[in-house]
Each structure stands twice: as structure tokens, then as C-alpha cells.
């Protein structure tokens, strides 16, 4: 199977995954108590006005009618309008996607850059001070929620170092450096727990690889220990890490939602939480759709990477 066919197949699969996700979300948000009309007009609103508003928003129609209407509009690329502001959902999403993707992307990079070298170091220096130190830090990262790390970062670094703001986001078109400085702390906050998980994976995976026969073969060939480790070991050790890096991406995306609030950044996460509080159904559905799209897409990328680093795996599983 060629790469194009494989990608096509995976994208078709993804459509089904996202369809399932948005369907669940559609009904779940409506099952939660709370009425958008009442939330807009206040608790002592006139019943007639409430009814009129519900009529206007289409909330009086049977659920399945609402569902299919929404689905039909979605197929034409129309995500609907926010109940609260009347603005198109897609426009709001486009506005906030930048900061979220920036933070999540940089967070992943930070996690990988920390996790892979320390994981290797930790496995090579097993039961030595380097191992205990990096393992402890990794457990710290795994145990602490991203938003808490964010708060600590604000208190310790943000307050004392003027170069990194503790609040808000600067778009990249206002300069790379201000952009970078505005996301470095939140990115670290989401990257740290993810990095902790990956470091543990890297460590155990490398420990396993170190005991493999082919590593002994490599040494018996007279290669020095660095070549044995990085030429013969690294790629093998990365195979399980890459798989799990895709699955645990949820940690990053989940972390971003909370961290954006800590750092006062108007991103997808803040939009999502705000829209849930206001029962802004179309906006919730749109946001979840985008987040699940990012997750699914990232996993396709991970799977492609996986086939690249593991020659035993073929696209679509065999010929």
C-alpha cells in the first residue's frame, strides 16, 4: 500500500472518529442541566421572552431535528453561530487556535528535548545519582497538574524575570521573540508532565534495549559505547516511545485548557470552558471538534513516524 492510499484511508477513519466524538458531545451537552436562554436572560426573565429566544435559537425543536440540522450545516463547512454573541463559530475558533497550537507545539518540543536525553542518561546510569535525580524530577512532573506548575512558574520566574510575561499572548506576527516569550512558561507547564511520562517511557524502553542481543553484537564488532548506544540502540528504544507519545498527547491538550486560564491567554481551552459555562452549544461542539481533529491528526503523524523508525511495520499492516 502506498503512502497516499494509507493517508487517505487514515483520513477517512478520522472522519468517523470525529463524527462519533461530536455526536457524543452534541447529546452530552444537552443532557447537562442548564438552559442557554435562561442563562442569557437571567433567572427572573419573562417566560414569554424566554420562549421567544428559544424559538429564535431553535432550541424548541426536537433533539434529533436539531442534531441533523447541525450535521447538515457542518457538512457544508458551517459550524453555526455562537448562541451568546451570534458570531460564526469558525471565526472564533480561528482567532484562538493560534495561542493554543503554539503552546501545545512548544510544550511537546520541550517535553521531547528534556525527556529523550534524560531518559537515555537515566537508563545508562541506572541506580546512580543521575538516574535517581531525573527519575525524581520525572515523577514530580507526572504527579503535578499542568496548571499548578503554571502557577509556580508565574510565582518563581514570571514575577522575577521581566523578559517573560505572566499574562497574555503575543501573536507571532508581532515578532518571534515576544511570541516566544509569551508562550514559554505555559508551554513549559504543559510540557513538563508530558515530558515526565515520556522520560519514564524512554528510560524503561532503553533499559530493555540495552539488554538486547544486538547490542552485545554491536559491542562485539568493536564499536565504541556511544556508537553502540546511539547508532544501534536509540532508534529501537524510540519505537515504543513514539507510540505512547501519540496516545499521551491528550495530556498536553488537556493541560493547555487549564494552563490558558492560569496565564490569561484567550485560547481554545478558555473558549471551551467559557462556552460550557454559558451552555453555548454550537461553540462547545465546534471547539471539541477542532480539538479532536488536532488529536487525530497528530496521531496520524505519529503513526507515519512509527513506520519510518520501525522497518518491521508497513502502512496498513502487511502486503
Amino acid at each position: 500500500m502506498g503512502l497516499k492510499q494509507y493517508l487517505l484511508k487514515r483520513l477517512v477513519h478520522s472522519v468517523f472518529v470525529m463524527f462519533f466524538v461530536v455526536t457524543v458531545v452534541f447529546f452530552a451537552v444537552r443532557a447537562v442541566p442548564g438552559d442557554p436562554a435562561r442563562l442569557m436572560l437571567g433567572g427572573d426573565a419573562d417566560p414569554a421572552a424566554l420562549e421567544a429566544l428559544r424559538q429564535e435559537l431553535g432550541l424548541n425543536q426536537p433533539l434529533y431535528v436539531q442534531y441533523f440540522q447541525w450535521l447538515r450545516r457542518l457538512l457544508t463547512g458551517n459550524f453555526g453561530e455562537s448562541i451568546r454573541t451570534g458570531e460564526p463559530v469558525l471565526g472564533s475558533l480561528a482567532q484562538v487556535a493560534g495561542p493554543t497550537l503554539s503552546i501545545a507545539g512548544l510544550g511537546m518540543v520541550i517535553a521531547l528535548v528534556i525527556a529523550i536525553p534524560t531518559g537515555i542518561l537515566s537508563s545508562v546510569k541506572r541506580y546512580e545519582i543521575e538516574d535517581y535525580l531525573s527519575t525524581t524530577v520525572a515523577f514530580f512532573g507526572i504527579s503535578m497538574p499542568a496548571f499548578w506548575i503554571g502557577i509556580v512558574l508565574i510565582l518563581v520566574i514570571g514575577v522575577n524575570v521581566d523578559a517573560v510575561p505572566t499574562f497574555g499572548y503575543t501573536p507571532i506576527d508581532e515578532g518571534v521573540s515576544p511570541w516566544f516569550r509569551s508562550i514559554i512558561l505555559p508551554a513549559f507547564a504543559v510540557g513538563f508532565p508530558y515530558g515526565g511520562i515520556l522520560m519514564r517511557m524512554m528510560r524503561s524502553s532503553m533499559l530493555e534495549v540495552l539488554n538486547e542481543d544486538y547490542m552485545r553484537t554491536a559491542r562485539a564488532k568493536g564499536l565504541n559505547s556511544n556508537l553502540v548506544l546511539f547508532k544501534h540502540g536509540l532508534q529501537n528504544a524510540l519505537i515504543p516511545v513514539v507510540t505512547l507519545a501519540g496516545i499521551f498527547l491528550a495530556v498536553v491538550l488537556g493541560g493547555v485548557v487549564a494552563v490558558e486560564i492560569v496565564f490569561g491567554i484567550r485560547g481554545l481551552g478558555r473558549l471551551l470552558i467559557g462556552s460550557i459555562n454559558r451552555r453555548d452549544f454550537p461553540l462547545i461542539q465546534g471547539t471539541v471538534l477542532i480539538i479532536s481533529f488536532v488529536f487525530v491528526l497528530a496521531n496520524i503523524v505519529v503513526d507515519l513516524l512509527y513506520t519510518m523508525i520501525n522497518p518491521r511495520i508497513k502502512y496498513g499492516g502487511g502486503e
Partner: protein, 409 residues
């Protein structure tokens, strides 16, 4: 006669474990001549592989290797730095491991796995530094125009792999078990070694492939004048392939000699037991004979013969430290046994059982043990030739000279 290619004296390897010190190789001495096939036979866990890995200095920090001497082609392997040792590994001495499924790297093309040996030990003019190798591995791939790659293809052809150009670009999982072991052989030949240590090279293979692979190893080693140390647990394989053989049991070499002498005229009860347990085509026995009992625990191993609890011939000297007895010096090749039954003053009846142990036998043994202890404590004394044990079939005539050389280092 020439000096042996590999001459190992008093090799002892132990591991620190939670339960105590495990002696995996206990005072083993042997030598391998140029062009010779030397077999080491023994059951699993007897220390065959550890012996090989100790010589290669491939054990990790957990193992402690001590030896009086490990001479290889005029160099003392024990005195080499790690960097010098690396040029021996894969270059002068290469290894073939048991399982080709796991001993080849699954994420590297077989061409590169062979080519890297050529690059590191040959004269290809290609860069072998860390970053050059990393770039080759992760960015550019191995150039199919490079000398090392072309040599790899030649080697694949030499070991009988069809379509070598195509195969070289494939990964180990794309090859059958027999093909993979051929790749491992090609890899072992790539550094142009003078000794190949083959550690159970056919154990993981189909029986139908076994003979092919063994022949491949033997024919090629003969063709290129390479000595082979063949580690196996298969006496049939030893009989067919080896010139000399050592029988290993519970970390010690029990009997060493020419393969014919050993098979025709085994002197050690363990060798005898092993040979008796081989089923024969003309057998009318209902049960194959077995050696009763189990291998002793190698942790905190007591002195004395490790086989005594399972031995039909055990007598009062068996818990004394073992020494090596040389048999019948008229034999072409030295035949040595570590069993006190061979003490010339001990009287043995027709069936091989000990009938009488005179006091002078005990006294002679004690003198010898004492002399050996002195010898191993002080290498200078060893020159005097008190030690009659020694793996070299040539005797000790040229040894003092070489030892003298060593003292100058």
C-alpha cells in the same frame, strides 16, 4: 612449533549476586592453534559463553574477570586499553552468537550491519567518527557506492546469499533464520579476523539448516585460515567438526584433548556419562543412560570436584582442589583430565573404581596443590614449569621466553 593463537591461563570469572558470589568460570586454561577448530562442550549454564565473553572482555560491570594470562597473537588482551580492545573485537576476534533472530539489529539494513564492521576494521578510507556514523545512520543512509558497502555485498555472496545487492538493502525480518545466520557469519568475516568464536551458532536454527550453517562456518574458516572456537552443547556437532575439544562442567574444564581421543577414550567420569547418554542407531536399550543428579550451585562454590556428588567413582580425594593430570604423553595432542582418579599413585580396578588411596598419593597431591598456589600467587615461579596443567599441546618449551617479554612491559 608455533605459539598458539590464543592462550588463556587461569581464567576465572565471577559475578556478584544477591545470594553470594557466583563463579561462572573457574580457573580455566586452554589454547587455540592457528587454523584449528576448538570445541567447548557442556550443558547450559556450565560457563561456556561466559568463557568466550570473558576473553572478549564483553561482560558488563557485574562480572569480574581474573586471569593469569590471556595471550592473543603475541598480545596480552588483559593489558590492552578499552580502545585497543575494540580494534581486536570484530577485527581480530569476531563472534557469532546463538540466535540470529535477536543478534541482528532489527532497524538496520543487513548491508550496513556488515559494512560498519568493514569500515571500522578495514582500510576503506571512510570516516568512522561518531557524527559521520550518526549521519550515515539517520540522515544519508549508507552509500551503495562506498567501498564498505561493496565489500558487504561481496561477503553476502561469499556466505551464499542469493541476490546480495538486493538483500543488502533489506532488514533482518525480511530474511529466514538460516539466511540471517549467514548474515551473521558474513558480519563475523567482515573484519578479516584470525579467530571466530561461534557461540552455539546453530542452536536456534532448524535442524535441517544446522549442517549447512556449520559447514559454511568451517569451510570459510578453512578457506581464510581462521581458527574457530566452537561453543556447543551438541556432542555430535563436536565430533564432526572439531580438532580438539574441552568438556566444561560447572564452570571448569574437566577434560581437554583431541576429539578422537576424547570420544574413543574418555577419562573423566562426566565425559563418559555424556557419551553414554547419546542415543545410537543400533541401540537396543530401553532407556537412555542419564547422569543422575543436578549441576551444583555455582554460588559460593566449594573447592573440590564439582561432579563428585553425581559421580559413580567418587572417592576420598574428590573434595580436594582439582588439579590437571596429563595423560599418555605419546599422544599427538595433549589430553588432560581434572580428576584425581588419574593420580598415578591411586589404584583403580578394571571397572574404573578406586580400590586404594595410598598415603603417598595424598602427599603428592598436597605438594602439587601447594606448588600451584605458589605459582598462581607469583607469576615468576610459574616459569619454573611446576605447573603441569596448561592448555597448550606444545608443552611449555617456549613459554619462559615469552613470559620474559611480558615482564618488561
Amino acid at each position: 612449533m608455533n605459539e598458539p593463537l590464543l592462550d588463556v591461563r587461569g581464567l576465572t570469572t565471577s559475578f556478584e549476586t544477591g545470594q553470594g558470589r557466583l563463579t561462572a568460570v573457574d580457573d580455566v586454561s586452554f589454547s587455540i592453534e592457528e587454523g584449528e577448530v576448538f570445541g567447548v562442550v557442556g550443558e547450559s549454564g556450565s560457563g561456556k559463553s561466559v568463557t568466550a565473553l570473558s576473553v572478549m572482555r564483553l561482560l558488563d560491570d557485574a562480572g569480574t574477570v581474573e586471569a593469569d594470562e590471556v595471550w592473543f597473537d603475541g598480545t596480552d588482551l588483559l593489558s590492552l586499553s578499552e580502545a585497543e580492545m575494540r580494534s581486536i573485537r570484530g577485527g581480530e576476534i569476531s563472534m557469532i552468537f546463538q540466535d540470529p533472530m535477536t543478534s541482528l539489529n532489527p532497524v538496520m539494513t543487513i548491508g550496513e550491519q556488515i559494512a560498519e564492521v568493514v569500515r571500522h576494521h578495514g582500510d576503506t578510507g571512510e570516516r568512522t567518527g561518531f557524527w559521520s556514523e550518526m549521519r550515515r545512520k539517520y540522515v544519508t543512509g549508507t552509500s551503495t557506492e562506498s567501498r564498505s558497502w561493496r565489500r558487504a555485498i561481496e561477503l553476502l555472496e561469499t556466505v551464499g546469499i542469493p541476490e546480495p545487492e538486493q538483500r543488502a538493502t533489506e532488514y533482518p525480518h525480511q530474511l529466514s533464520g538460516g539466511m540471517r545466520q549467514r548474515v551473521v557469519i558474513a558480519q563475523a568475516l567482515a573484519g578479516d579476523p584470525s579467530l571466530i568464536i561461534a557461540d552455539e551458532p546453530t542452536t536456534a536454527l532448524d535442524v535441517s539448516i544446522e549442517a549447512q550453517i556449520l559447514n559454511e562456518i568451517l569451510e570459510l574458516s578453512e578457506e581464510f585460515g581462521i581458527s574457530v572456537m566452537l561453543i556447543t552443547h551438541d556432542l555430535g556437532v563436536v565430533r564432526e567438526t572439531c580438532d580438539r575439544v574441552a568438556v566444561m562442567y560447572a564452570s571448569e574444564f574437566m577434560e581437554t584433548g583431541h576429539v578422537d581421543d576424547l570420544f574413543e577414550d574418555p577419562h573423566h567420569p562426566y565425559t563418559e556419562g555424556l557419551l553414554a547418554s547419546i542415543p545410537r542407531i543400533d541401540d537396543d536399550r530401553e532407556w537412555l543412560s542419564v547422569i543422575e543428579g543436578t549441576v551444583p550451585d555455582l554460588i559460593d562454590k566449594p573447592s573440590g570436584c564439582p561432579f563428585q556428588d553425581r559421580c559413580d567413582y567418587a572417592f576420598e580425594l574428590c573434595d580436594r582442589p582439582l588439579v590437571e593430570y596429563e595423560l599418555d604423553s605419546t599422544k599427538r595432542v595433549r589430553h588432560a583430565v581434572r580428576c584425581h582418579r588419574e593420580n598415578e599413585r591411586v589404584r583403580v580396578d578394571e571397572s574404573g573404581h578406586v580400590t586404594d588411596v595410598p598415603d603417598e598419593a595424598v602427599a603428592a597431591l598436597e605438594r602439587r596443590i601447594e606448588a600451584e598456589n605458589d605459582a598462581s600467587n607469583d607469576p615468576a615461579v610459574a616459569d619454573s614449569g611446576i605447573r603441569t596443567d596448561g592448555g597448550s599441546p606444545t608443552g611449555g618449551s617456549d613459554e619462559p621466553e615469552r613470559r620474559g617479554d611480558r615482564d618488561e612491559y
